[in-house]
Symmetry: C2
Subunit: 191 residues, 2 copies
């Protein structure tokens, strides 16, 4: 299972076996069950999660108590509440498993030590954050440019496997639809 | 003027004078006039901009030809179309000076060379992207959670100097208001 992480690292940096086991020793591997929470609103956000297998989502509750999903992480993606994680603050978010998942976990102090001991991990995380930032900027443009319905069409066309994989009520929660409205749109497109 | 950049670097990494002049040699300093474009839709995005003094904005034109501003950069912030910059692609955005500005510029090849020659700059850019990513995630939550009017109130309360500094038609373009609607809200709040 750690091969998945090694392959991911090797897309960005060169590491040998010895370095990899040194790096891996900063992490824990955990199994989480579908719908299990890794992070709960109000907790101090101490951990950074890397998906080896499965899927996580990050959501918050709006004033009406409705869950709004703002991010998914599938294999090879990192997830945390980055603002709270860097500053050791309590979070406004939940992080929950969408499927039974296998997750690498590191806490913020260990991550800082890792970066000091293996300085090539600075390059790795520079790439990770750079790409995550670029992806979020693209998403921001969609939020300005697309109606919710257009965004759904875009998702379906660009990531059909993702849309099939994720329960429809979560896709609705990501798009800001009610599940009923999403099902209406899907039926309309089929007919 | 380069002192501004040195101070910024030193918030994240330790560098001496000699290292700093080495680092600085990878950059150019340019002066841009208010409303001058640094990047135009359709161009290959080759440059990364750091604001020493002044303000930049990034916008795109929607189907109706209306400018939608998705980001501002004031002193000590970086700006580019990150997705296009990393991949050497053409951009869908404009980057324009909001005020007469003094800007540090680096191109993508020079940035890669800089990172190889001064590996501590990996740490610096890791912080830059990490914070920019975290800030964009916070913004994403606002877009899900706030009405446009609530977002305006939040901006006014959290960044009053910024809202005073930026022309109101650009604040409107950032919020997705017409300038007339923004002026209506402002008058309502005053009365």
């Amino acid at each position: 299972m750690s091969e998945i992480f090694k392959n991911h690292l090797q897309k960005f940096i060169e590491i040998n076996e010895e370095e990899f086991s040194g790096i891996l020793s900063f992490f824990q591997v955990i199994q989480v069950k579908k719908k299990e929470n890794l992070l709960v609103q109000g907790q101090i956000c101490k951990s950074h999660y890397f998906v080896l297998n499965g899927c996580l989502r990050k959501f918050f509750l709006n004033e009406k108590g409705i869950e709004l999903t703002i991010e998914f992480a599938i294999e090879n993606w990192w997830m945390t509440d980055n603002f709270a994680y860097e500053r050791g603050l309590s979070t406004n978010f939940y992080i929950q498993a969408v499927e039974n998942s296998e997750i690498l976990v590191i806490n913020s102090e260990a991550q800082e030590k890792l970066l000091i001991e293996f300085s090539k991990m600075e390059r790795y995380f520079r790439f990770v954050y750079q790409r995550a930032y670029a992806a979020t900027q693209v998403r921001l443009k969609y939020l300005y440019d697309f109606s919710k319905e257009e965004f759904y069409d875009h998702l379906r066309n660009s990531y059909p496997e993702f849309v099939e994989r994720i329960p429809q009520y979560l896709i609705a929660s990501f798009l800001g639809f009610t599940p009923e409205y999403l099902s209406e749109i899907r039926n309309k497109k089929r007919s």
